[in-house]
Amino acid sequence: MIQKKKSKINRYSVTTILFILLVYFYFIGMLIHSKAVESTVRTSMEKVTENDSKDPFDVIETFFSCCDAAFADNVYDKFTMIDINGLFQRILQRKIVNDVDSRHTVYQLDNGQLTYYYPGFGVNIAHKNIRVLNEYLNSVGTQLLYVQAPLKINKYDNQLPYGLTDYPNQNTDNFLKGLDKLEIDYVDFREVIQGTCSDYEALFYDTDHHWKTETGFWAYTYLMDYMKHNYGFSYDERNVNSDNFTSVTIKDSFIGSLANRVGTWYAGVDDFTFIYPNFDTSFTYDKYYPYGIVKDYTRVGSFTDTLFFKERMENGDKALAYRDNCYFNGNPALVNITNNNIPDGKLLVVQDSFGKSITPFLALNFHQIDVLDLRDYKGMTLLDYVKENHYDYVMIIYSPSCFSKGLYYQQFKFYDYE
């Protein structure tokens, strides 16, 4: 028996009272959030039971596991607990903060920035798929351009904690070597940056794995210039002049996805810059559900009424997550964008989240841009999609995360090769 002292108020009773207060504080917090819990359970149940058996035990099991997830998601003031965890990791000088899903384990670079990290990976399937796609596009006169977005881990000065091998860049190099052999055109922004920019880490958020909006905008101007010089693509030079764009920076307003996992007491917060054109634009923006058949919604109007989601600028005095969803409101499986001011040019962009800060600006220069995210799009294979919709250009914008186990087989499944 731990207790030897019989006095009523002692360290054990104080601990117990505090424990009870804490447990019931969160219990009541959960009751206050009960509507959110109920809604999370209902949504999860709808998703899961669509395809599952009707065995009552299976239904109950699904219900319990949905409840588990809902309780965990709706803990009162959850982010403070994540902050506490981050502070603990920081005090213990941990550079690797594990996650229940190892893909989301967060690594702190020696320069203090946070990143994800991916192990070594073979890239044969990616080569096979892109070769087949390129052969078809060549046969119909469509130009394919692969755009390699950079990871925070600098190929030339990786800043990884001692002992970690720079597999993400090695995987990427192996893939690009294959593109050389296949004579597929590509832009490797890791090399472009190395040649033009001295402050690599300034191009990225500290608390998020993505490049900054400003970097995405710069990459857009580079790509337009590249297309002009290599494919003879013509466009209005005013569309790439930064003077024609409004740039609004909100200090300490952004909690990146990495900080979302490890807390701001570990990661800090970032400034966030919103960029949008200050000239007249006219777009029609159609967003589809993952099967690409049913339209989710349509937005018609200027850039800031369609491709740009102004609500992400609100509450500027608060540090918030997902401000980077100001473009496309996330990572839609399929969107069709029509620029009503441009008469021609049809581009398909196959992208991951690094494309979010490029593609909206590309849309200023083409009559139609379709954007596919193969991680979520379920309609058909990419090859079938380009066969059904003829394009002048197909651009694939991927970061090195595409060479990770969880994403590779989705992002490089261009045709039904199985």
Partner: protein, 471 residues
């Protein structure tokens, strides 16, 4: 349901405590009924259909208890009933846990092609079945009175704190508490302290070091360096201790919150100076179960011949190995301990008081070798892992993994080492910390911080394996 989940700590536990202590406070039977129902819910949370197995086990053993009691005067009949009950209980475990293993071995040995059944193992089946067996045997031995009320048998077998990972509570100790326990704030406080301590051990130490062990045991033969193999097994040794002892502490703590006292399950096993001592300190409830229900009935160590003693030890250790899982690795683990304990008993090594340090090194070394078998997926993995550990593979001595995983977890290794010894108890008593005024302030702060940090891991969603759930 996991103790280390938001659902348990912030929903299940406060609700159960609330109902137990308020509307049902003065109604013992209602409290028992309530605890039984919520225990079923607790068990059903993971795989609801397995509640039927649990209910079947409860009903079956309730009836056997009645029958054993009814025919108590007829030795032959009551023995037969007892035997049938044990066979049926073991039959349930055999079907769920060992049938697939047995069939695959028959196929391998006799070159047959019998389809291997795919049977999911119900969580904690070995724990609750052993408790069920304990009930019938204790009734037979008159070590506890037979329960006329099936609900009490149900509560004994299914009581949620110890249901899925022990400690294996003996019926004789539980039956008296069913009616005669007295809840108090002091016992409740003890329970809270034990629960927080167990939670912290499990989440902060076991789960963190599990990542190191998993990395080492998932490395291929060529990737694994000697140093990382040692670091991996060291991490696993701490993981399994704090995983299981953490869970046991949480169970003991929860029991106390409802006024129940469970026996201790761990007593600093890594300070042992012999393997025999190690198993008096490790998973005490399982060791004493086998001692009282298998070893002693076979004659124990008070037998006429050494060969009979060896046979008794062999039976107990093969069963102990098998209890942990249907895999040859567990059988080899059991045989290893059979050999070591036989050696100690025959030579009197375990009673020797000389060369304490060497005894300690010997014990830890063989315990770690045992854990290699315990953790490996199969014998071949265990053998190559041991070869690497003992420089027989030609693999490199030191690699980057050792550096990264040690540096990342250095504080956890230090904490695990300290917590695996009674150093805090010793220092506390030496410096008379319990009497210090500042300790009265620091202690609650420390425990609440431990609780909050542990829960921050749970809420964040971190790696959370439970080794003993598989047994």
């Amino acid at each position: 349901m996991l103790f280390t989940s938001v659902s348990f700590v912030y929903m299940f536990l406060p609700l159960v405590l609330l109902f137990y202590y308020f509307p049902f406070r003065k109604f013992r039977k209602v409290q028992h009924f309530f605890l039984f129902i919520v225990s079923l819910l607790f068990y059903a949370w993971e795989v609801p259909s397995y509640v039927l197995i649990l209910l079947f086990s409860i009903l079956m053993n309730y009836l056997f208890g009645i029958l054993v009691d009814k025919f108590r005067s007829n030795e032959l009949k009551s023995r037969m009933i007892l035997s049938v009950s044990i066979i049926l209980n073991l039959g349930i475990i055999f079907y769920f846990k060992y049938l697939a293993f047995a069939v695959s071995n028959i196929n391998a040995v006799f070159h047959k092609n019998i389809p291997v059944p795919e049977i999911m193992l119900p969580i904690g089946i070995s724990f609750f079945t052993f408790q069920a067996i304990s009930y019938v045997i204790d009734v037979y031995r008159n070590n506890g009175k037979v329960q006329k009320n099936p609900l009490n048998v149900g509560l004994y077998i299914a009581f949620f704190p110890q249901l899925v990972a022990g400690p294996i509570v003996r019926y004789e100790s539980f039956s008296s508490q069913l009616e005669n326990r007295k809840e108090s704030f002091a016992t409740f406080s003890d329970g809270v302290i034990r629960f927080i301590r167990g939670l912290a051990k499990k989440i902060l130490l076991a789960n963190t070091l599990a990542a190191v062990a998993d990395k080492a045991f998932s490395a291929s033969k060529d990737e694994l360096s000697v140093s990382f193999a040692w670091l991996g097994i060291l991490a696993y040794s701490f993981q399994i201790l704090f995983d299981f002892s953490g869970y046991s502490e949480m169970a003991i703590g929860l029991g106390k919150m409802f006024g129940f006292e469970f026996h201790e399950n761990f007593n600093y096993p890594y300070i042992s100076k012999s393997i025999s001592e190690f198993f008096r300190r490790w998973h005490i409830s399982l060791g004493s179960w086998f001692r009282d229900y298998v070893y002693f009935p076979l004659g124990g160590s008070r037998v006429k011949t050494k060969s009979r003693l060896i046979l008794n030890l062999f039976v107990v250790w093969i069963l102990t190995g098998l209890w942990h899982g249907a895999n040859w690795t567990f059988i080899i683990w059991g045989i290893l301990y059979f050999l070591l304990i036989s050696f100690e008993k025959l030579t009197g090594f375990n009673k020797s008081r000389r060369f304490k340090l060497l005894h300690h090194i010997y014990t830890i070394l063989f315990v770690m070798i045992g854990w290699v078998f315990f953790r490996s997926a199969d014998i071949s993995q265990a053998l190559y892992y041991l070869k690497i550990m003992f420089f027989q593979s030609g693999n490199e001595i030191f690699d980057q993994n050792t550096y990264i995983y040690f540096m990342e977890n250095k504080f956890f290794f230090i904490a695990a080492f300290l917590c695996s010894t009674p150093i805090f108890l010793t220092l506390s008593s030496k410096w008379n910390l319990n009497e210090k005024r500042w300790n009265g302030v620091l202690y609650p702060i420390l425990y609440i911080l431990l609780f909050l940090v542990s829960m921050s891991y749970v809420i964040k969603g971190s790696y959370n394996p439970f080794i003993y759930f598989n047994f």
